[in-house]
Symmetry: C2
Subunit: 328 residues, 2 copies
């Protein structure tokens, strides 16, 4: 397979290279692109040293382009990149809501990938981490309403986000006033209930992405979903607390059974032994951890669960490569 | 008023002294007690130096005892401390669920304080911070179901919790493996969905405290409440994301109006100007910040909101002193 990566030097780009190596993706040719600022840098892949080129404004000569260059660049150029037959798998939000563009999580809707017109969209990180756990439960018990609160890592703002957390935390501990420019407010030892822009309905775009994208991926246009998206001072794994009301009878034990045999999910749910999902254990892992599964006590026939998943892996690079694997 | 503080050298004890000073509480006499380990230490109050004595196992000769010595000590000794007429206002969970002990938030149920038999319980921090915002909305629109996810600071585990966060974060930044003994797992850059012990129903005791205590304080034994309680790497303000289903019609604007005139609450809700509740702004403040108020899109007639409140103040010392003020 002839591959290209756009945005190869970013946090997701670096993980794309790791995931391609770790999954033994059949790469015959690999071309790396990044912004003019990063062009000329060298990157190692399978023992070879590759030089990063500047992101082109023309067709890319490859079978598959893994794009992680940000929404505005993707919106402008993805059609051009794919104009000579390359399939662009895009990690930005630019194409996700286009009815002609499939939005794919391979564990959930691989069949949708076949109907592409040159672009497949990779979902938002928070959506992907929730959806991979929610889907098997939805299939088994039919979810009618979902309430989710997120605990989102700084990696969601790229390498700059993680660097700012580390750097500003160091400043704080050294008695300096924490500052920073990536987030709206200093992030060390803080919580910021604001990710992406505010919408007219009072939700942020990040929160609505979870609504719009889960519905599209599940093929469940009417599913009731609400989200509160919150940035917290962690590095690279998102956690989410979910309450789900089901139409069919659902017990915690039955949910555990369903999830135990579901791909992309690792049930970590043994409270007696202090086992539950955490960024500490979910970071760097392909599977999303699911635990704290329990019968909700406020609603009839509802369950609560907690997930932690690596934002750069299942939330980005891993899912992108898994989509590409559908075309091997 | 002749006051005593039990647990005077802990994180809450120190805040009790600050709050008594800041609110000009009429203190005629002040006796400080702590464990044998801390007895003999000196503490400054209104310019005077007081020597801490060892917590007695006998009646305390005072009008009011502000106790923050932990549940097991309080369970064993509070009745004895109050046996010669002192009123014990207890900050632990030892007495909160005793039907003969009022559980009081002065903005909500001050009338209950009058029916004490020597002990008044101060609520759990997470409960107090949520309840002060939820109560005015419940009065106005009658809440029928509440779903809450918490973002809880390390101060909930006392001064040791905060010290461990700072110390272990420093270790992490210096390339050492973070450890620690206060929390179940290392807390730097991590999230731990486990506070207090697990119950048979899969909820933690911390989560059930929010259920039990909110119902008792509100006099709403049937109110449906569910909570997911999560420890995050912040210092001293808890945040909480709430979804509330109401019986009466409730708009975001009407909720903002109700909260704007409610005691103990500061509406911080101007997303266009990046104003919403945060630990950064709520720490050290008496009022609980409430914002992100919006019509919930998953349920009919429901609202979402986000609160941040100082765990050591409204969550502990401030509320305790406010209860004492009812007896001035």
């Amino acid at each position: 397979m002839r591959l290209a990566i756009v945005g190869a030097t970013g946090a997701v780009g670096r993980e794309l290279l790791n995931v391609l190596e770790d999954r033994n993706f059949p790469v015959d040719e690999l071309t790396l692109y990044a912004s003019s600022r990063s062009a000329g840098k060298t990157v190692s892949f399978r023992g070879e040293t590759l030089t990063v080129k500047e992101t082109p404004s023309a067709a890319i000569d490859a079978d598959i382009v893994l794009a992680s260059a940000g929404g505005s660049i993707s919106k402008k150029l993805a059609r051009t990149w794919s104009s000579k037959g390359a399939l662009v798998i895009d990690n930005s939000s630019a194409w996700r809501y286009d009815p002609d563009v499939p939005l794919v999580i391979p564990e959930i809707n691989p069949q949708d990938a076949k109907n592409h017109n040159g672009i497949i969209a990779n979902p938002n990180c928070t959506t992907a981490i929730l959806a991979v756990a929610l889907w098997p439960l939805h299939r088994a018990f039919k979810a009618s309403a979902v309430i989710v609160s997120t605990y989102q890592a700084t990696s969601g703002a790229g390498a700059e986000g993680m660097n700012e957390l580390l750097h500003e935390t160091e400043n704080y501990l050294n008695g300096k006033k924490p500052g920073g420019s990536v987030f709206q407010y200093p992030i060390p030892f803080n919580v910021i209930p604001h990710i992406d822009s505010f919408q007219d309905n009072g939700y942020t775009r990040e929160e609505m992405k979870v609504v719009w994208e889960t519905r599209k991926i599940f093929g469940a246009a009417e599913m009731k979903i609400s989200c509160t998206a919150v940035r917290i001072p962690t590095l690279r794994a998102h956690s989410e607390a979910a309450t789900v009301i089901f139409e069919k009878p659902a017990s915690a034990a039955a949910a555990r059974d369903v999830l135990a045999s579901s791909p992309g999910v690792k049930v970590v749910d043994d409270p007696a032994n202090n086992l539950y999902p955490m960024p500490l254990s979910a970071s760097g892992k392909w599977d999303v951890e699911v635990g704290r599964i329990r019968k909700n006590i406020a609603f009839e026939n509802a369950l609560d669960f907690f997930v932690s998943g690596d934002q750069l892996l299942k939330g980005a690079a891993l899912n992108t490569v898994q989509i590409a694997e559908l075309f091997i």
